[in-house]
């Protein structure tokens, strides 16, 4: 279970709309004490060059910057979100192969420019599959 406010979910959707038809990506920052609670998102430039329509990538420099930022503001780097333009909000085999344990992954479907469903996923311990986890949507 990952807890996130409705406002932050809307920010992720807005990012997906802005980046359409390309994929957007960003980081989830917050606390993980028992359950994960997202308190802030950070947009990241998709470093995938010409393949941004079907791919996202966070450059190592951006990754290091985010770890540093999280440390400075006393939060944890909880995971990442990205959009699937004209594609369901389900992780692809490629998403799974590139996933890390511990991190939470949010996927936002954007259909014909309109953002829709967001789903949350975590890698299983044996790396074998992505397990869907519920999103605890909070009002504020």
């Amino acid at each position: 279970m990952i807890a996130i406010t409705r406002g932050l979910l809307e920010e992720i959707r807005a990012h997906g709309r802005d980046a359409y038809p390309e994929e957007c990506c960003g980081a989830l920052l917050g606390r993980k004490e028992g359950r994960a609670q997202v308190t802030r998102i950070e947009r990241i430039e998709n470093a995938r060059g010409s393949e941004r329509v079907r791919r996202y990538e966070v450059s190592p420099r951006d990754y290091l910057r985010l770890e540093r930022l999280a440390r400075e503001i006393g939060l944890d780097l909880l995971g990442f979100y990205h959009s699937h333009p004209d594609h369901p909000a389900a992780p692809s085999a490629y998403d799974r192969e590139h996933a890390f344990p511990f991190f939470h992954y949010l996927v936002c479907a954007v259909s014909a420019g309109q953002p829709g469903e967001i789903t949350a996923w975590m890698l299983s311990e044996d790396r074998g599959e992505f397990e869907r986890e519920p999103i605890g949507e909070e009002q504020t």
Binding site: P21, E51, V58, Y63, H87, A93, Y94, F100, F103, A112
Partner: protein, 482 residues
């Protein structure tokens, strides 16, 4: 002493530590020492073959060790070695150009391919990284997409705005009764993912247009034309020529089909074969003329075969050849096609250099305007008025101008049956003194009949608006519709 900085996701496997001091003097030794101390990290840092995973980046201070001496890069006192996960993902199963790998499950699934030297592991990887776009998820698109998914084509795009109708099930084998009323692509994507979860199905629930075609085509290697109308067929051809992609073509009608591979870089395009569309209405669509339900299966599988051959780069593709299939005689013939040096889009001096208005090119709006103009002068009766006339036993003659096989499905018992084509020879069966109402299935052919009769001196003749189909819809729900 050098130290290793661990990223957040790996800290739980190192007792929560963000930094681990090591005595090693090279990157390789530092990692070995780290894994020896925290064995749980092994599976996240190394793959099964003992290599550092491709998505694990190693930075010495601020520099990528790949640009230093890789894992042999020396580490000195005070140096930091950062393990930086490469965060990546995306909708596509395997990106173009990126070496695909086959999992054990995939190797079992594709074993019948892998043991053929013409496919083999290399060919199967080509299929996995291939991106094929199918225009239309109907009669041709159904068998095509099912076989491409089963064959392991990594990305299959589908373009279709329609919902499943019960008249589709006679030939569109990807759908079932439970799908009636659902968007086609929703049902098709579910079915394809069930056949092969390794496949990425990308849905474009929209009509292909001059506005969206180039953008959609951009992400694909091969386009397969499974459309049923001329404007889209010319649009697919032109967009393929402009983007340099092969167009795997087929079309079907009644018992006959055609197939070819149009690829302007290597041979003729569709416009080299048919420079201009036929006048609207001359070539009936499958909805008007019918089609043997099996025929799109035959042609769609030919398209799938050609697509897989193009991906594998093996065999002789249908480039420069038009395959003609006649299912009634079960004969396959072949015509040689040549590139037209004067082709307006793929010739050396093209005049079509961007997508145009294909509806206008095919004369559709002009034809609609003409039909509307000529129909405006035709007197009509509604199905309600006809019911009133029949119920009151008014004195009038009802004429059915449909074909005998249509009459066999449903008809009015009292009507005079004269197929439109034979009407001129049968005028003597009607009297100019009578009130006449003419009907067909939808009202189009009967409008022509009314015009013909009026030209022959009949004054009291009217057309049944919407034909017997609207009668079945509004007046007599028990009557079959076709």
């Amino acid at each position: 002493m050098p130290h290793i900085l661990l990223p957040t996701p790996l800290r739980p496997y190192a007792d929560g530590a963000a930094s681990v001091d090591v005595a090693a003097t090279t990157v390789a030794a530092a990692l070995t020492e780290l894994v020896a101390r925290h064995p749980q990290l092994r599976k996240h840092l190394y793959d099964d073959a003992g290599r550092v995973r491709s998505f694990v980046n190693l930075y010495k201070n601020d520099e990528d060790v790949r640009y230093l001496e890789k894992e042999g890069t020396p580490l000195a006192d005070g140096d930091s070695l950062s393990i930086v996960p490469s965060i990546a993902g995306g909708a596509l199963a395997a990106p173009p150009g990126e070496a695909a790998t086959l999992s054990n499950e995939e190797i079992r699934r594709y074993s019948r391919h892998l043991i053929m030297p013409e496919v083999g592991v290399e060919g199967q990887k080509k299929l996995k990284t291939a991106r094929v776009l199918a225009i239309g998820a109907g009669g041709l698109g159904s068998p095509l997409s099912v076989y491409l998914a089963a064959a392991g084509v990594g990305t299959i795009g589908l373009v279709d705005p329609d919902v499943v109708d019960d008249s589709n099930l006679q030939r569109q084998i990807i759908y079932g009764v439970s799908d009636i009323g659902r968007p086609k692509l929703q049902a098709a994507a579910e079915r394809l993912r069930d056949i092969n979860p390794n496949v990425d199905v990308v849905s474009y629930e929209t009509r292909l247009s001059s506005e969206n075609a180039l953008e959609i085509f951009h992400g694909y290697d091969i386009v397969v034309d499974g459309t049923d109308n001329f404007p889209t067929r010319y649009l697919v051809n032109d967009a393929c020529v402009l983007t340099g992609k092969p167009n795997v073509y087929a079309s079907i009608f009644r018992f006959e089909g055609q197939a070819s591979v149009f690829w302007a870089e290597k041979g003729p395009c569709y416009r080299c074969l048919y420079t201009e569309p036929p006048p609207p209405g001359l070539v009936p669509s499958c909805a008007e003329g019918g089609v043997l339900g099996i025929l799109p299966g035959l042609l769609g599988v030919i398209q799938a075969t050609e697509t897989v051959k193009l991906i594998l780069g093996n065999g002789a593709p249908l480039i420069g050849r038009l395959l003609l299939v006649d299912a009634l005689s079960m004969r396959f013939r072949e015509l040689k096609l040549r590139k037209n040096p004067d082709c307006v889009i793929c010739g050396p001096n093209p005049t079509v250099t961007k997508l145009i208005d294909y509806e206008a090119f095919c004369g559709i709006p002009q034809e609609e305007a003409r039909v509307a103009a000529s129909a405006s002068g035709i007197p009509e009766v509604t199905v309600r008025e006809l019911k009133g006339m029949r119920d009151a036993r008014e004195d009038f003659v009802l004429v059915d101008v449909r074909e005998p096989h249509e009459v066999a499905i449903c008809s009015f018992p009292e009507s005079v049956k004269i197929p439109l084509a034979t009407l001129p020879q049968n005028l003597n069966r009607l009297s100019t003194a009578d009130e006449i109402v003419v009907h067909c299935k939808m009202g189009g052919r009967s409008a022509k009949a009314v015009q013909l009769l009026r030209g022959a001196g009949f004054r009291k003749v009217r057309n049944l608006a919407g034909g017997i189909d609207r009668w079945a819809q509004e007046i007599e729900p028990g009557m079959p519709r076709y």
